[in-house]
Every structure is written in structure tokens, then in C-alpha cells.
């Protein structure tokens, strides 16, 4: 088992290195004009480009890039989004709001999703199932920007219950929480629906499997059997939905953060690509890849423990 984990970890590092290399070359080969401002004279531009080694061949720049990251943890300096600031510190500065929102979102969406999915499965084809399934599909189908906009309009404007924007300087915990409710809710609708839909399907499948019959024959009540066998077994594959969910929340937070003015990680990637802040873009790509790789690693390892047949590299 230890060997397996070690192998997976090594593979992850290799992947990360490849992602780093790939994003460096792809992004840096994009047309790069750091200062396309009409007021910045060509001489100044030239000087600044020289300072950033931009006049050297790409392969040399690549060497500087790797050297900086490996030896000094230095991802470079932002040139447009936050000129002068180190890329790493920009990313660090923006993690907290995104983290908090995503954390709360997971915190409410996992239990709610599980409850909704279970209820729907147990009351299969009766009205609670139909209602939940309907809501699930609405939450999955209407894009989050429409939902968020609508929530904002209804709950901050028509019925002013919540503040319109995220409050980054809330004087107390309550105010901070108050301003976070809408973004978190808007962010959670999709994950709740995803979990519920997945669990409903899984549960329905396990409820009709042989071992449930066995469990009943050995004297368990339907409830006991459901709880002890079906439910637990269905929860395992939920781990599978967590990878897309986390990346999904990240994609979602891109929209939500824009609508509610949350100073988080979400909009940064697109902004930096559009602004041509290539150092920041590359670092963000690495950051996002790292997160998804870690999630994949965790899920892989847990799968390796749960179901050794799925381990990578089994025989023919």
C-alpha cells in the first residue's frame, strides 16, 4: 500500500512538472506585449522587457522560470494586475475569501445533497422524489450566473434581506456571515444537486442488489439494512463526484465572485489572461492544477484502499 501511494505521489509530481512546462510554453508563446499603452514610450518598454529577461531566447527564460520556482519558490512578479507584487503573494492574498466561500459551500452542500438524495431514493417515484428530482434538475440546468443574478435581485433588491455585495471588511462575524449567505447559496445549488442526483442513483441501485436481500433474510429490518449496507456502500462512490465538484465550484466561483464583488481567486485567472499578465497566468495555472491533482491523488488513494482492483497498472 505504501508503495502504491508513493508511486501515485511520484506520478503526481511528474504530472505537475509537465503541467508547469506546458503552461509556461503555451502561455509565453502567446503574443506578449506587456505595455501596449500608447503613453508608454518604446524606450521604456524596451528597458522593462530587458529587466524581465524578455529579450532572451525562450529556452533561457524557461531556465530562469524553473530555477526561480525550484530554488527560491519564486514564480515571478506581476506586471499588469498588481505591478511590482510577487505573483505568489497575490495568490496567497486571494485564497482566504475563495476558501471560506468554498468551504461553507461544501459544508452545506454535502449534507444537504446527501439528505435530498437519500429521501429521493427511499421515496422513489412518489411525490418527494419527484419534487427533489425536479429541484435537482433546475439547480443543475440553470446556469449559476442566472441564478445568482436572480437571487441577488430578489433577496437584496425586491426583499432587502441580504446585502448586495460581499463585505470584505465586516466589523463582526455576523456581518461577514450575513454578506456571505447569498454567494454561498448561489455557489452551493449546483453541488447539492450533483450529490443528490448521484446518491439517488447509487442508492436505488444498491437497494435492489442481492446483498440487500441477504441482509433482510438474516433478520435486519428494511431500515437497518438500508442504513448499514445500502447507504454506506453508496456513499463510497460519492468521492468520485468530489473532483469535478471542487473544480466546478472553482469555475462557479468565477461567476459568483464577479457578481457579488468577492475579492477571491475566481476572476483572477481570466483577468490575468485577458490583461496579458503572463507570469501571473502561469502561476495560477500551476495553482489550479495543483489543487485538482491533490484532489485526484486523495481520491485515487482512497480508491486504492477501498477497491484494489482499480489500481493503476494491474495485469492484462
Amino acid at each position: 500500500m505504501f508503495k502504491y501511494i508513493l508511486g501515485r505521489f511520484g506520478a503526481m509530481l511528474l504530472t505537475l512538472f509537465l503541467v508547469m512546462t506546458l503552461s509556461f510554453w503555451v502561455i509565453r508563446l502567446m503574443p506578449m506585449s506587456i505595455f501596449e499603452n500608447p503613453e508608454v514610450s518604446p524606450e521604456v518598454q524596451h528597458k522593462l522587457e530587458e529587466r524581465m529577461h524578455l529579450h532572451e531566447p525562450m529556452i533561457v527564460q524557461y531556465y530562469y522560470f524553473l530555477e526561480g520556482i525550484v530554488l527560491r519558490g519564486d514564480f515571478g512578479t506581476s506586471v499588469k494586475m498588481r505591478p511590482g507584487l510577487e505573483v505568489f503573494s497575490i495568490i496567497m492574498e486571494r485564497i482566504p475569501p475563495t476558501m471560506v466561500l468554498n468551504f461553507f459551500s461544501l459544508l452545506i452542500s454535502i449534507p444537504l445533497g446527501i439528505i435530498a438524495g437519500t429521501v429521493a431514493a427511499l421515496k422513489r417515484n412518489r411525490w418527494p422524489d419527484h419534487l427533489i428530482s425536479f429541484l435537482i434538475v433546475i439547480f443543475i440546468s440553470v446556469p449559476s450566473f442566472v441564478f445568482a443574478s436572480l437571487l441577488q435581485y430578489l433577496l437584496t433588491f425586491v426583499f432587502p434581506v441580504f446585502p448586495t455585495l460581499y463585505n470584505a471588511q465586516a466589523p463582526n462575524v455576523w456581518a461577514a456571515f450575513h454578506s456571505m449567505v447569498l454567494p454561498v447559496v448561489a455557489l452551493s445549488l449546483n453541488p447539492i444537486a450533483t450529490i443528490a442526483r448521484y446518491l439517488r442513483g447509487e442508492l436505488i441501485e444498491t437497494l435492489s442488489s442481492e446483498y440487500m436481500v441477504l441482509a433482510r433474510t438474516k433478520g435486519l429490518t428494511q431500515q437497518e439494512a438500508t442504513w448499514k449496507h445500502a447507504f454506506r456502500n453508496s456513499l463510497v462512490p460519492i468521492a468520485n463526484t468530489i473532483i469535478p465538484m471542487i473544480t466546478g465550484i472553482m469555475g462557479g466561483s468565477l461567476v459568483i465572485e464577479k457578481l457579488f464583488s468577492v475579492p477571491g481567486e475566481g476572476g483572477l485567472l481570466i483577468d490575468s489572461i485577458l490583461a496579458g499578465d503572463h507570469f501571473l497566468t502561469v502561476a495560477l495555472l500551476i495553482f489550479y492544477s495543483l489543487i485538482s491533482l491533490i484532489t485526484i491523488l486523495i481520491v485515487d488513494i482512497s480508491y486504492g484502499i477501498i477497491d484494489p482492483r482499480i489500481r493503476i497498472g494491474g495485469g492484462k
Binding site: P31, G84, Q152, L274
Partner: protein, 573 residues
């Protein structure tokens, strides 16, 4: 459960009461995107105007005068208006009471340090030109900041000198007025920088500084001090107790939110949580009759650049083809219906140009004659008949068979709603006007800037533009600046000797000294521009702005060069 609900509701109510109870005068403003840095030396973003004007200090400041229709200059760090010593030399006396928000004194050394750093050749600051060459040109300043190793220029040779601890001397290259000197020292670029932090942020090679990248690395000196800054979310300013001219400023605190989404802005405005709102093309319809809406003609004329080097377009270099395009634009519809209550324009010099020189160029006889010429072709130059004629000539001129169908490519930024709608409109119009000979296809920059796009490819024909940075209220001709060879990032790959020669005539000292002549020469320049169709003018921008009733402004109308003076406003409940 019910108890918990009641508790929550009570808390909400308590919070809202709390919010109402504060009697502080707080003005609520917004920005569409945050300032990238607070280092006023090295960012060209205009969003930096807000923090620097509220929390920074410059030598002079423009304030509204008694008439409420105009503005005047007062010394901020300077104790008095500049004194003329000889033709080219000016002396600026400084206030002994000026100090930073932390109590440190501001004196001639502070000013000298700020200016020296702004011009520093190693730092290569992007705003350096605002000190060396803006409304006055300072002796050797540009030479110093742009110096190369084979032609060094010493700091001592630059026309900025410290006379004593409270006097600064400025030497210009040509005679200027007192007003020019004052206005030169009011921009955000020449606001003071705090030496200890500037030095602290400096790297070993002294080629860049992290001054202003985070709030802790920046020092306030103005009427307000930066209280907090959460990037991409909010900036708050509170009164600076150490400020020496408090009588001009009335707010207790200033709250600037960064709000990207227009719907959110409108909601906040309707709730009274914002004191200003600039309606966009979608919202202007709602507010067009609103008594709180104010408008003014801006210095921007939206236009379309025509690429003259598209290898895939056989007509690309033809003048007749550009003329055909010029006459094919139904500017009335585009300005009124698509851009939303804007003014169609078949000419390129804006409605404010020349205002500071005594007469607006567009109101002068010379300027009016050009507009009349355009109107003689059709409303704002629109004339499908002429367009077809010119296209026919273009086909003959380029030897293109008559039945060839050409598809033009319009490249623009997807997020720009008005231009996107215009492109979609022209897509339908062109085949009708040109009887199916010309089609329009659309391509978007998709993630790269206009300049980067044009560096990558020549395969485009039309690209919308709103560059107005060179447009000036003093010199009406200066808006044509970008279309000369001397400017490196060419918008359209087309140069014309006659046009450039005429630009140089307008730009000569001789013409600059004689405004009546300048109007004539500018009209000649604009006529050449129309003859050669250097680019296609479309819409004169009308800026719309809303101010809350509780906000009392220091002026009754928009004052060019000064604006609405929101910073000097007051809250009246």
C-alpha cells in the same frame, strides 16, 4: 425553531437600525475595476485618480470658484501660485505646515525626491512623461528620464531645483502661462511619494519598487487618508487629521466599492447605497428622463480603424474603398439606437477640443465648415449612393472583377456591448448597401489586447477604437497624434505624407502661438483626414452621469478639465 427564526429576524433588524444610526457623512462611490497599485509613478490606469486625489497631495489643486461654473487653482503643498522669475523660470513657494498623514514634514526635499524618482532612468516609470512633458515641458527632464549609457544626462541639468527648504524652481523649454504651470502640477503622477517606504520597497538594482503595492507600503498626505484597501473589493478613506486645508472638504469618510456587475450597481443605486451611477447602454433607457441625470459631451470620438495591409483583401490599399466605407455608416442609427442617446459624428475632432484656448474648434467657422462639408454628403456623412459609387471605383482601380464578393473582417473586443451590436448591425447593412458585394465577418480578440492582436496578424479590415488620450482641450489637432509614423503601435498600417506634413504645421511653435491660425490649420488637417479617410469617425461620446439628491456638488454644470468636483461635495440629508 420559531424562536431561532425570530432571533435571526431581530438580529437583521438590529443590524439595519445600527447602520442607520451613524450620522457620519459618508459618500459612497464605486469603481468598475480596482487600481492595480497605488504607486502613482508607475501605473497608467485612470482608476488611480480616485485614491490619489482623495489621499494624495500635489503642489496645486483645482477647486470650484465662486461662480460655480468654473474652477481655479490653489496651492496645496505650494503656499502660493507660481512666481515668474524670467521667461522660462518659475519659483514655487511651499507651505511649512504641509505634512504626511503620520506627521512627517513635507518640504522641498520631499518634492525633489518624488520628482527625481518619477524621472529616474533606471525605474523607467510609465508616468514619467506627465512630469517631463505635459502642459509644460521641463528643461532636460525627458532627456534625463530616457537617457542611454552613451548619452548620459545628469540630474543637475534638469530644470527642477531646490532653492531652499521651502522653495522649488522650475525651468521650462518655452514660455508658458501661470495656469499651465499650475495645471502641470495637479495630476496624480506628480503627487508626493513617501521616501522611507519608496526606498524600503526598492530592489537591489534599484530598478523597481514595491511602493504602493499594498496599503502598508503607501502613505497618505491628502485631505483623506487610506483607511483600508481590500484589493478588488473596497477602498475606504477617512479624514486626515494632519491635513492643512480641511475647509475645502466635507465628507467624514469615503467608501469606494469595486463593482464589476452593472446589475449590482443599479440595485445599489436604487437602494440609495451609491451616490453616483454612470448608466451604460442598457440602463440609459431607464434613466434618460430622470431629473438626476446630467450629461456632457466628452473628448472621445468613437471611430473605426481601417487596415490598409490585409493580404487577403484585394481592395485593402484603395482610397475609394475607404471612402465607400466612410459613406456606408448610418451614424444616426448607430449613435442613437445602438450606442444609446449618443451623437453621430462624421468628423474626428471632439466637441471640447480648443475649449481652453478660447474657442471650441467645432464652434469656430473653420470647424463648422468641415461639418458642413460632411453634411453635404448626407446626414453625418451617410450616403449609400456615394458608397456604392466609390466601391465601384475601387473595384475598377484594383482590377477586381465586378461580380467578386468580398468579406471584410471586423475585429473587436467581445465584452464591448456597443461595438458588438454595431458589428452585428453592419453585418446586416453592408450587403444591402453594397448590393451583396461586401459582406462583413466578425472576429474577436479572444483574450488578447488590441495591440497584441494587430501585432500577431494583418488579417483584419475594421477595428473599433476609442483612443482619446492624445485629444486635448487646448490643441484641437492633437487627437490625430496616433496616426503618424512617429507613433510605434500603429492602429491601421496607413501613413500619408501630406497628412503628416500638415500635422507638423499645426504642431509648430509658430502656429501654437496663434490660435486663430491654429483653427484654420486644424480644419485643413481635418479635411486631409477626410480626403484620405485616415480612419472612420462614428460617434461623439455623450457622457451620462447620475448623482444622488443627497449629494451637493460644488459646481452647477460639468466643468471641462475639472469635472463635477465630487471630491469637494457635501452630504445634505
Amino acid at each position: 425553531m420559531k424562536k431561532a427564526l425570530a432571533f435571526v429576524i431581530m438580529l437583521v433588524l438590529a443590524m439595519s437600525v445600527f447602520a442607520l444610526a451613524s450620522a457620519e457623512k459618508t459618500v459612497h462611490l464605486y469603481m468598475a475595476s480596482d487600481t492595480p497599485t497605488l504607486n502613482q509613478h508607475n501605473s497608467v490606469e485612470t482608476s488611480l485618480d480616485t485614491p490619489v486625489s482623495y489621499c494624495g497631495a500635489t503642489l496645486y489643486r483645482a477647486v470650484a470658484d465662486e461662480t460655480r461654473l468654473n474652477y481655479e487653482y490653489i496651492g496645496e503643498i505650494a503656499s502660493d501660485l507660481p512666481k515668474q522669475i524670467d521667461d522660462l523660470t518659475w519659483e514655487i513657494p511651499l507651505r511649512p505646515e504641509a505634512k504626511w498623514a503620520n506627521g512627517d514634514p513635507i518640504n522641498a526635499d520631499t518634492v525633489m525626491y518624488s520628482f527625481k524618482m518619477l524621472l529616474d532612468p533606471n525605474l523607467a516609470n510609465q508616468m514619467a512623461d506627465f512630469l517631463s512633458d505635459f502642459s509644460i515641458t521641463i528643461l532636460n527632464a525627458k532627456e534625463y528620464s530616457k537617457q542611454t549609457s552613451d548619452a548620459p544626462v545628469a540630474w543637475e541639468d534638469v530644470g527642477i531645483k531646490k532653492i531652499d527648504d521651502y522653495t522649488i524652481q522650475i525651468v521650462t523649454t518655452s514660455p508658458v502661462t501661470q495656469k499651465d504651470v499650475c495645471s502641470h502640477f495637479t495630476t496624480r503622477a506628480v503627487a508626493m511619494v513617501y521616501e522611507p517606504l519608496y526606498e524600503q520597497g526598492m530592489n537591489e538594482t534599484r530598478t523597481s519598487t514595491t511602493y504602493g503595492s499594498v496599503p502598508e507600503m503607501w502613505m497618505s498626505a491628502g485631505p483623506y487618508k487610506l483607511d483600508s484597501w481590500v484589493h478588488d473589493s473596497v477602498q475606504t478613506y477617512v479624514r486626515n487629521e494632519n491635513y492643512w486645508l480641511p475647509e475645502y472638504f466635507h465628507y467624514d469618510s469615503v467608501d469606494v466599492r469595486v463593482i464589476r456587475d452593472m446589475n449590482a450597481r443599479v440595485e445599489l443605486w436604487e437602494q440609495g447605497a451609491l451616490d453616483t451611477l454612470s448608466p451604460d447602454i442598457n440602463t440609459i433607457e431607464t434613466y434618460i428622463d430622470d431629473p438626476r441625470l446630467v450629461e456632457f459631451s466628452s473628448i472621445t470620438v468613437f471611430h473605426i480603424d481601417v487596415n490598409c495591409k490585409n493580404p487577403e483583401n484585394p481592395l485593402t490599399a484603395s482610397l475609394n474603398y475607404r471612402k465607400a466605407l466612410y459613406h456606408a455608416m448610418n451614424r444616426e442609427v448607430i449613435a442613437k439606437s445602438i450606442f444609446g442617446y449618443q451623437q453621430p459624428s462624421g468628423v474626428y475632432v471632439n466637441g471640447q477640443a480648443g475649449m481652453f484656448s478660447g474657442q471650441i474648434y467645432r464652434d469656430s467657422d473653420a470647424g463648422k465648415a468641415v461639418v458642413e462639408r460632411v453634411e453635404s454628403w448626407g446626414p453625418a456623412g451617410y450616403n449609400p449612393e456615394l458608397a456604392r459609387e466609390y466601391l465601384k471605383k475601387a473595384y475598377e482601380e484594383c482590377g477586381v472583377p465586378e461580380d467578386t464578393v468580398i468579406t471584410l473582417i471586423m475585429a473587436f473586443d467581445e465584452s464591448d456591448l456597443a461595438w458588438k451590436a454595431t458589428a452585428e448591425y453592419l453585418m446586416e447593412e453592408f450587403p444591402v448597401i453594397f448590393e451583396g458585394k461586401i459582406n462583413l465577418a466578425i472576429t474577436t480578440y479572444a483574450g488578447i489586447s488590441t495591440t497584441a492582436f494587430k501585432e500577431t496578424t494583418d488579417v483584419w479590415d475594421l477595428s473599433p477604437n476609442d483612443w482619446s488620450r492624445s485629444a486635448s482641450r487646448t490643441y484641437p489637432y492633437s487627437c490625430f497624434y496616433y496616426y503618424r509614423r512617429a507613433y510605434e503601435s500603429h492602429p491601421n498600417n496607413y501613413f500619408d505624407d501630406e497628412f503628416e506634413a500638415q500635422y507638423d504645421v499645426c504642431d509648430s511653435d509658430e502656429v501654437k502661438a496663434d490660435y486663430a491660425r491654429m483653427l484654420e490649420e486644424t480644419a485643413k488637417l481635418e479635411n486631409i483626414y477626410l480626403d484620405k479617410v485616415i480612419q472612420i469617425p462614428m460617434v461623439q461620446e455623450i457622457s451620462y452621469q447620475m448623482f444622488a439628491d443627497r449629494l451637493e456638488l460644488p459646481v452647477d454644470t460639468y466643468v471641462p478639465g475639472f469635472g463635477w468636483g465630487v471630491i469637494y461635495g457635501d452630504i445634505v440629508e
